[in-house]
């Protein structure tokens, strides 16, 4: 049994989500190999080779994979992956984009967003926005799986010394091409990996008011998130959204400010270790999951919080 893990990266650095995927692969058991597909991505391959428990790194270095376009990635991973028992990727927007394409090309079903491994063919995943947990057994010859990072502790990034092997394929897509990108820039920690997350909702009132969250966040080293209401109202960009349709986070501390706690938002944060809610509506559903609730006007409470932490 050999497992192929697809590395998540931006051509210069390995994304930490890959370490959680390797951890899931270890629970399945068997040899673990990593595919790094990108352009000028030697540094990523080196980092992948050092991950504890990895036996081989395959590098597909071509302009075709620079932006991990789904058509090229799907073709590459389906071709390479045919000899493996399992193909795993992180359940990021990149993994979610190409992995189902890979599965269909291999004529197998796929299992999305697993949070636990029961055995080599049985996996646990949330359904209905996390309101039910399904245990799924697959009889497919190759298991194509995306892994929810918050379900697994990261594998050690050091300790391995895997061999690096080049793969010369070039699956340039004739029908799809990168045009442009607009990336949100932030010095704060990555939302999905942060130890502390502070999120604002509709109660923030407007985008400028998020400044008071940023101040607290910078003082305690937190990432800043948002509810869908805050994103739809244009307060903050969509990549800050936490929830069923946004990012799934499970930090040690999650502070929900001016967020009512709709099912879809809870789906993205209720695995957090400690949840704090600051809301002036004491009937808000968020208080039903909060370990510590403060019924107060956020415009008084948040600046005071900043002073006291």
């Amino acid at each position: 049994m050999t497992i192929l893990v697809i590395a998540e990266h931006d051509n210069t650095a390995l994304n930490a989500a890959t370490l959680n995927v390797v951890a899931a692969a270890k629970e399945i058991g068997g040899d673990i190999e990593i595919l790094v597909a990108g352009e000028a991505c030697a540094a990523v391959a080196d980092a992948a080779a050092k991950i504890d428990g990895v036996s081989k790194v395959v590098v597909a270095d071509s302009a075709a994979y620079k932006y991990q376009i789904a058509e090229a990635m799907g073709d590459l991973v389906a071709e390479l992956g045919a000899g493996y028992s399992h193909i795993l990727a992180a359940a990021t927007t990149t993994g979610k984009d190409f992995m189902p394409r890979t599965a269909a090309l291999l004529d197998v079903n796929m299992i999305s967003d697993i949070v636990a491994v029961e055995s080599a063919d049985t996996f646990v995943r949330p359904i209905y926005a996390g309101n039910a947990i399904a245990t799924v057994q697959s009889s497919d010859s190759i298991k194509v799986i995306t892994v929810r990072g918050t379900g697994f502790d990261a594998a050690p990034a050091e300790g391995g010394s895997a061999a690096i092997e080049a793969n010369a394929t070039d699956k340039t897509s004739a029908t799809s091409a990168f045009v442009s990108e607009e990336l949100a820039k932030s010095d704060r920690p990555d939302l999905t990996a942060a130890e502390i997350v502070i999120s604002g909702g509709r109660g923030m009132g407007n985008g400028e008011n998020f400044e008071i969250l940023y101040k607290v966040a910078d003082k305690i080293g937190a990432a800043v998130g948002a509810s869908r209401a805050a994103v739809d109202a244009g307060f903050v960009p969509n990549d800050m959204q936490v929830g069923q349709t946004g990012k799934i986070v499970a930090p040690s501390l999650y502070i929900a400010v001016g967020i009512s706690g709709a099912i879809q938002h809870l789906a993205g944060m209720k695995e957090s270790k400690v949840i704090v809610a600051i809301n002036k509506d004491e009937e808000a559903p968020i208080f039903q999951v909060a370990d510590y609730g403060l019924v107060a006007d956020l415009f008084d409470a948040v600046p005071e919080l900043e002073k006291l932490v």
Partner: protein, 249 residues
Amino acid sequence: MKVLVAVKRVIDYNVKVRVKPDNSDVDLNNVKMAMNPFCEIAVEEAVRLKEKGVATEIVVVSIGPKVAQEQIRTSLALGADRGILIETDEKLESLTVAKLLKAVVDKEQPQLVILGKQSIDSDNNQTGQMLGALTGLPQGTFASEVVVDGDKVNVTREVDAGLRTVGLSLPAIVTTDLRLNEPRYASLPNIMKAKRKPLEVVSPADLGVEIKSTQTIVKVTPPAQRSAGIKVADVAELVDKLKNEAKVL
């Protein structure tokens, strides 16, 4: 151009689901059903393309039991021209759904296929991509903007780090994210008109697709319950608890 839209009947997004006592599945008896929210956005986008003069015909397809006709009628009331129901009472996995949709794509030859990015029941986020692989068509997933320009379509996608735009040659597949548009409501006259629009019913066998399952649900359980904690009186008490009790600050 012709646009094909796939819609799914799912449990209404406001309903808090209950797991059956025997842990076989969630209980869908007497539960309010509706069109999957991402599919509504797909229908709306198709209708807007028609209003802009880009699309000439909108065909909406759904796969499911006879009652899924309701969701097709809703789509027709919103502006789609005709419907196709692939009727089956079996619970289908994404690959089978994609194979059925491929058969419809082969027959209808649409220039653009629009699907929701995921259904809020299974939360798979697979079907559009699988359809892309089976038909060999390019995909623009998690779309927040779709601009058709001649024989190309530029799709702005919501990715983890922000936004990314891909250029696809038509025919192509698009899956919708929540911010693509705000779906309209169907007016009563349009609901009445929708009753007279054509709705074809076919079976998976008519399309030459064999239904096979490779995944077994071993069990479905409720998630671990979080219980409400305590209410603190002020910020000072909150900070004290976080530092000394929970030790997370």
